[in-house]
């Protein structure tokens, strides 16, 4: 060790602290252990804790009053919501437990003749929407349908050419001539 190194170590504050600790650690531990293990210490630490708790409670109460005045949800309000959710989860677990018990009981019963159908149970909870199914097969040809409704009137067709007059088979009987009137002479 050089002279400089030796001096550096001697003046190192951590080294001094370490030596101090090593020399006194046992004595400190024993003294503290004895003091803190006593009933008096337990009693006084309890009193100290009580005082701190009273102060803490006062702060929390004041903060709650302030938040309620401001119409802001308090820590207790949010915790209450959480409690409701935890309670619901417990209910679901209880239902699951009962279902498990029923399943076990059903498995334990030997298979017998089929009994009559039981009453219809209450509707179950809604499930999640399932994935889209595959396209179905083409079905058989259906029966003929009924006649459809009457369609709209079509457009007027072209006028037909007049044909030759047909020969008259039997003539119209002649009208008998009226007697001529005598001309009036002026």
């Amino acid at each position: 060790m050089t002279k400089t190194e030796g001096m550096g170590r001697a003046t190192d504050p951590f080294e001094t602290w370490r030596q101090l600790y090593d020399a006194n650690e046992r004595a400190w531990s024993e003294a503290l252990g004895e003091a803190m293990g006593s009933t008096e210490f337990a009693d006084s630490s309890g009193k100290l804790l009580e005082t701190m708790l009273a102060a803490q409670k006062s702060v929390r109460d004041n903060m709650r009053t302030y938040l309620e005045t401001m119409n802001v949800p308090t820590r207790e309000d949010i915790a209450r919501l959480g409690e409701i959710i935890i309670g619901l989860e417990e209910k679901i677990d209880q239902v699951a437990d009962r279902l498990d018990a029923i399943e076990q009981a059903v498995r334990a019963v030997p298979a017998g003749p089929t009994g009559p159908a039981g009453p219809t149970g209450p509707a179950g909870p809604f499930g999640r929407v399932g994935p889209k199914g595959a396209a179905g097969r083409v079905g058989p040809k259906g029966a003929a349908g009924r006649a459809g409704p009457k369609g709209p009137v079509g457009p007027v067709g072209p006028k037909a050419a007049r044909g030759p007059a047909a020969a008259t088979g039997r003539g119209t009987p002649a009208t008998p001539a009226k007697p001529a009137k005598r001309a009036k002479r002026a």
Binding site: E25, M36, A42, E90, D100
Partner: protein
């Protein structure tokens, strides 16, 4: 040194691949993914503490109890309790034992097609696992406890700090719907304040000078120690009152949903693992289980070390884990 400490917040942890098997509220049940089929048929159900992150059992590659169990051919499941919010203020220990664990166990049964499993609990998770095993002996093939405090008649400094009259638990849970993570964290660190607040950095200071010092390993552990989880108000109150103050489990007075929780109802093989210098779950709190259960096969391993060293660290991976692996294989 500062860089090592600050970098710990992003230290990679819990890296073993896993899949979500079941969930309820904040709780998640994971199954660790195996590249090959399991060679043991009994699945292992890991039950973690409420106040710590679950990645302690899967800290990092090479220092992961989960990784070890997978390499031994086990099918491993882990329940992560998540982070409770204010909406969980009425969630208590009873709900966790009677509504969460049985359903998670059912999910394991469905996933593995096995009726029974090995339930392995760490710390408070061990207490939950014990209560579950007492209420559901038909499901529990084996029970393994890692530093699980069950008898609070002599609970050490934690017992004194939380004693009735000293600890304002009602006032605490009235003020905080979820008990802030810092509170149990400070309580734990006060068990050994000099080592927690000074010794950690003094050790780091020394190790930084060592050539092959595993900085990432230190960062992962430092991250876990300082990454505590809030405690749901009702669960905290029940934990302190019924377990610490009334000691109901050890006194055969604990009831959950109207059902008695009795250690004597546990008849499966039990392996109790305790740490000799554990201050969080001192030895008197962890020693009754082998005497009180009705199992004919109840054994105990007491490891030199503390509460956390029992599940991570070189000593754990070299000495304890292989013993646990052999016990589990023998009781498959």
């Amino acid at each position: 040194m500062l860089r090592a400490v600050l970098g710990s917040a992003d230290a990679p942890v819990g890296l073993t691949p896993k899949e979500l098997v079941w969930r309820k509220n904040k709780a998640r049940l994971y199954r660790y993914i195996r590249t090959e089929p399991a060679t043991h048929k009994t699945p292992i159900f890991l039950v973690l503490p409420l106040i710590n992150r679950s990645y302690i059992l899967d800290l990092r590659p090479g220092a992961s109890f989960v990784e070890f169990l997978l390499s031994e051919g086990f099918d491993v499941f882990l329940i992560d309790w998540g982070t409770p919010g204010d909406e969980d203020q009425s969630l208590d220990v009873t709900a966790l034992v009677t509504r969460y664990l049985p359903r998670a166990a059912k999910a394991i049964q469905k996933a593995t097609d096995q009726d029974q499993m090995t339930v392995l609990g760490y710390c408070i998770g061990g207490v939950l696992a014990t209560c579950f095993a007492a209420l559901h002996p038909e499901v529990t093939r084996n029970l393994v406890l890692l530093t699980a405090p069950l008898d609070f008649s002599d609970a050490g400094q934690f017992g004194r700090m939380t004693a009735r009259g000293n600890f304002p638990v009602e006032q605490l849970t009235d003020t905080f719907p979820t008990v802030p993570a810092q509170l149990p964290d400070i309580g734990t660190k006060l068990l050994n304040p000099v080592a927690s607040y000074v010794g950690t950095y003094r050790q780091l200071w020394d190790k930084l000078g060592v050539e092959n010092f595993d900085v990432e390993g230190w960062q992962a552990m430092y991250r876990w120690v300082n990454d505590s989880v809030p405690f749901a108000g009702a669960a905290f109150r029940q934990w302190i009152v019924e377990f610490y103050q009334d000691n109901r489990l050890a006194r055969d007075m604990l009831e959950m949903d109207g059902r008695p929780v009795r250690l004597a109802n546990i008849r499966c093989p039990v392996l109790n693992i305790a740490a000799s210098r554990d201050q969080i779950a001192p030895r008197p709190t962890t020693s009754i289980v082998t005497e009180r259960v009705a199992s004919e096969d109840a054994s105990e391993i007491v490891v030199e070390g503390g509460h956390v060293g029992i599940v991570v660290g070189r000593s754990a991976s070299q000495n304890l884990w292989p013993k646990v692996g052999v016990w589990l294989a023998d009781h498959d």
